[in-house]
Amino acid sequence: MKKLFSPEPYRSPHRETRDDVPSAGFRENEHTADWELSVWAPDLPGLLEQAARGMYALCSISLDGSAARREHALDLTAPDSETLLVSFLEELLYLAEQERIAFDTFKITVAEGRLKAELSGAPIRTQGKEIKAVTYHNLAVRQGPHGLEASIVFDV
């Protein structure tokens, strides 16, 4: 009989890490109905960038390389890193849906709960999937072997 509710041992996204695993990245985890993304990076700005790249990858977003580049500045404040992460991704989802733009260059600083970002990107050429929302489900920005890590569940 399989045990129910055994508290899940903490699993680092780097569990299978070998020396050649990059110090920052993202990976999709199995989830019955929604999407779960593990992200890791040396610091919070890096983590936010990886989360953005991972989210765009889940949506299979590609940019229109022939169109004029688009710049966008963000200024967000939040009481904790998790809320900052959720708010940042929500901004990007909103811009993808309403303005049909996405970004591939990120200049992010975070100081005392305030995020400032200069984003550069282009109009979306194709998008395979839609994300309804970024959730707080079991969300915690934690110290990991390579700096910070988090698992984000998206409602799709």
């Binding site: 045990k3 109905a33 708010s87 309403q98 979306i124 839609e130 959730t135 707080y136 569940v153």
Partner: protein, 483 residues
């Protein structure tokens, strides 16, 4: 560590995790499932999430979990929880981002043998008329004032625009309009998203399906609903689109601080909540109702477009091409209802997330014609498999806050489904089975492959065995339109 022996068996179809299982539980968890389904549920986190849900302040009775349960975020899909008025909580995450996601069923007197040759064209025209897919706007653009009217009036707004009949409204949960919606409690960003998306299906598991009424199980109830073997029916499955997603997003963020103000401790931040009688709780309730009304209007507009498609393809070719409304139900919603709990009549807020209201005969709010048979319940199967029409019962009122299952329930992750199933192969095999497919995205199609879901017949067998719904008719798909 709990395993099967720690569950209390109530019947072959009902099990309980007692309150003593974890010290922060306020009520027990009741699961409607066969033993085999229960064991399968150990594979994901749905039961753990149900135990987490059992910690919401002000809960009464028990947290109910339906057999189509699967792991969600925070609250399990297939979960029902009732909190007492006035000081119990309301939790946006326990209702979900797609507020008033639901199903509408239209019946007809169109016989399959008259129209078989036109089904391909019907699928194509439905797909053209009904906007679907990623990044697609809706059929109707609204001004801010019009959006406010949609928020307040729901499907009744659609009636004023000529998109609905009186019978459509009568045969919609709450008449297609929840009282107490306030567009003033909705953010500018939500309104912006809402203005451009009315009359659209969206993507993911949402669809329009043309079905065949294949088998009738309750002749009288089917007759009252106007469902006859061998005729066509249409199902519309969608919700409040970006409008509802944004409202839930806004309030989940806002409630992160509300739980601190009200000193509520929770095992998961996605379950954040506020007392129903707090300003925060009241604001969310008013905004959620606006999204619910938007969704009723959305399905009404899509029904109108589906009728246009049927007219365009079938008028003049068959005797009757009209579609009449059977019912429209929500399966992600928070409702203020009166239930009898431990022998006491009580006003509660029933959170249903991936669970359908299933009021029994004589329950308030049912249209005259359904008063004796009970409320129709619409249970769409996974793509390419059967769907069911059920009715609510006295037992559902007693045991599950007048609720039952909402679908088949996923068992396989989207990424695994994509790896195991090729969209094009699936399309071809569905077509071979006589199911026409019009899909915006083949990879999206693969994620919704039938093998990624439980068998809807097992789910329905379970709720019917438990008595929390009764079978009326089984539908077989003929054409699927999805984003």
């Amino acid at each position: 560590m709990v395993d099967l022996k720690d569950f209390r068996r109530i019947s072959d179809f009902e099990w309980e995790i007692p309150r003593t299982y974890r010290k922060d539980m306020l009520v027990p968890v009741r699961i409607f499932a066969t033993r085999r389904m229960l064991e399968a549920a150990f594979e994901d986190k749905s039961l753990e999430q149900a135990v987490n849900a059992a910690t919401l302040p002000g809960l009464v009775g028990h947290v109910v979990v339906m057999p189509d349960m699967h792991q969600g975020y925070g609250f399990p899909i297939g979960g029902v929880a009732a909190t007492r008025l006035p000081d119990g909580v309301i939790s946006p995450g326990a209702i979900g981002y797609d507020i008033n996601c639901g199903v509408r069923l239209l019946g007809s007197k169109i016989y399959i043998d008259e129209v078989e040759e036109h089904l391909d064209e019907l699928a194509t025209v439905l797909n053209m008329k009904c906007p679907s897919g990623v990044g697609e706007g809706g059929a109707i653009r609204l001004s801010d004032d019009e959006l406010a009217r949609v928020c307040r009036d729901g499907a009744q707004w659609a009636r004023q625009q000529g998109y609905a009949t009186e019978a459509d409204l009568r045969r919609t949960e709450e008449g297609g309009r929840l009282e107490g919606a306030d567009p003033g409690k909705v953010s500018k960003r939500a309104r912006e998203r809402g203005r451009s998306q009315l009359g659209s299906l969206g993507a993911g598991n949402h669809f329009i399906e043309v079905d065949l009424v294949e088998q009738i199980y309750d002749a009288e109830a089917a007759r009252v609903m106007g469902l006859e073997e061998g005729t066509l029916a249409v199902q519309i499955h969608c919700g409040s689109r970006g409008f509802g997603h944004q409202i839930c997003t806004d309030y989940v963020r806002e409630f992160q601080s509300a739980v601190q103000r009200y000193q509520i401790r929770l095992p998961d931040r996605e379950l954040v909540c506020a007392p129903l009688n707090s300003p925060e709780g009241q604001d969310y309730l008013a905004a959620m109702r606006a999204a619910a009304n938007y969704a009723f209007a959305n399905r009404q507009v899509l029904a109108h477009l589906a009728r246009q498609a049927f007219e365009q393809v079938l008028a003049g070719r068959v005797a009757s091409w009209q579609l009449h409304q059977v019912y429209d139900i929500a399966h992600n919603m928070g409702k203020i209802e009166t239930h009898v709990i431990d022998g006491e009549k009580m006003k509660v807020c029933v959170h249903r997330k991936g669970a359908t209201r299933a009021f029994g005969p004589g329950a308030p709010g049912l249209p005259e014609e359904y008063r004796t048979i009970g409320q129709p319940v619409l249970v769409p199967g996974s793509m390419g498999t059967a769907s069911w029409v059920l009715v609510g019962t006295e037992t559902s009122m007693e045991r599950s806050f007048g609720s039952t299952c909402h679908g088949a329930g996923r068992v396989m992750s989207r990424s695994k489904a994509k790896k195991e199933v090729r969209g094009e192969t699936l399309r071809v095999s569905l077509e071979k089975e006589g199911i026409r497919v019009r899909a915006g995205s083949l990879s999206g199609l693969a994620e919704e492959a039938p093998q990624a879901y439980k068998d809807v017949d097992d789910v329905v067998q379970t709720v019917s065995g438990a008595g929390i719904a009764r079978k009326v008719a089984r539908l077989r798909p003929l054409a699927v339109i999805k984003g």
